[in-house]
Amino acid sequence: MSDEVTAEILTTHVLDLAKKGRRLDGRGVDEMRPVKIRTGFVASADGSAFVELGPTKVLAGIKLEPGTPFPDTPNAGVLTTNAELVPLSSPGFEPGPPRPEAIELSRVVDRAIRAAEAIDLTKLCVTPGEKAWVCYVDIHILDDGGNLIDAAMLAAMSALTHATLPGERFGLGEDKPLEVRHLPIETTFARLGDALVVDPVSEEESACQGRLTIATDEAGNVCAMQKGKVGAFSPQDVLQMADRAQVHGDRLRDQIRAL
């Protein structure tokens, strides 16, 4: 049986289940998989977090190094987010430049951190126009069980929240905790027929008729959104998901803060 036929049968099955309000792994429509977070996993990083979202495994590492501010923002540090779908994570790896999915993943995580102003970049300036901290957020996707965006964002924010500004290593003052001002969380939904399911597994992402990621902050704002995949949403759908994203976001913020 060809891959395409298998995929079609699986899609039909996922959609049939959704019609009955059921999901492949037995979860409810608004039920996320369990989240496990372990910070400080990598000693060579200035902050790190190993996140499991059900079977999905993601490792984020933070490195802070002195560099030069951008000419148009001389008073600000630099934030760089990079997510890699390393070949361990799934059978689909191909060598070569990063594929659109990986680029989208990096940019969606980066955009939410930036839009929510999670880090006050002006605090990372050392000498205006000359020297500022560059904050690298490197995210390794190790095991792809679906919904990489939410797992990557959890890893990034957990690592940042428990990171150290390594002043001593570079003769720039004492080490101190990196200040995290806001704690944005991303929540992703997939449309399966009329159902809008949260935290989709890989098979649901393949079968879906539209995917929407919504980042919320602790003040009840939507900070970022990204529709992905082929498909469409009504404005009413979007508003419903925004409400649900806020609830999930608040719960996960509590979990990160309690680490």
């Binding site: 923002t73 704002n221 939507v222 992905g228 979007v238």
Partner: protein, 252 residues
Amino acid sequence: MGSVGAKEVPQLLNEAGRRIDGRGLEDLRALKIEAGILNRADGSAYVEWGDNKVMAAVYGPREVHPRHLQQNTKAIVQCRYNMAAFSVDERKRPGLDRRSQEISKVISEAFESVLFVEEYPRTSIDVYIEVLQANAGTRCAGIVAASVALADAGIPMVDLIPAVAVGKIAGKIALDLKKEEDNYGEADLPMALVPRSGRLVLLQMEGHMSRPELEQALDLGVKGCLKIYEVQKEALRARYAVRSTEAPEVAA
């Protein structure tokens, strides 16, 4: 949005509620669309929208390159959004950066959502968007142009897809941001609509919006799209009018 550590923020809304270019909060910038402007492409369109100038061309359905991307049960939709080096204030290095690649991806997905891809298995429908002059909202201008180019190429679609960005400036939800509003505003939310179904095939957002603001923004965006939809249809009517005048000549 990207104004961390920047110096002075201009006044985006005056006492009379007018924007820096005199528009009200719900006004679009001037929009002009011309279909069929290129000879080699199967379909094409040119859009001037405020200070944006964008060209789109469509080739296909045609053979897939590279071959291994071919799908047995449907056409693939490959969009390439590119900015000319001279389209922005500071010269942009030629080539697709990560931003362009992300935009290419979400636009490809938006169009695949309205094209009858199952009708053309093992082919590619290629949509090329070139931004010649940029002033905020170029991805929406590209979608507007590409929609018309697809129709000009005679490729069946569920509907044309109009697109527009809604934003937030000086605390107010506003339609169709221009560059200064985008740079110093509080939020940007580009969307593309299928008028026939009322559903969104492209939706992105960054900034800060409360739940009521989000509702207002979606509502305003849909209204904006419906206005743009009329201009798109008008451009196609003008194009078909030219063609039907030409047709007798060819037939004669």
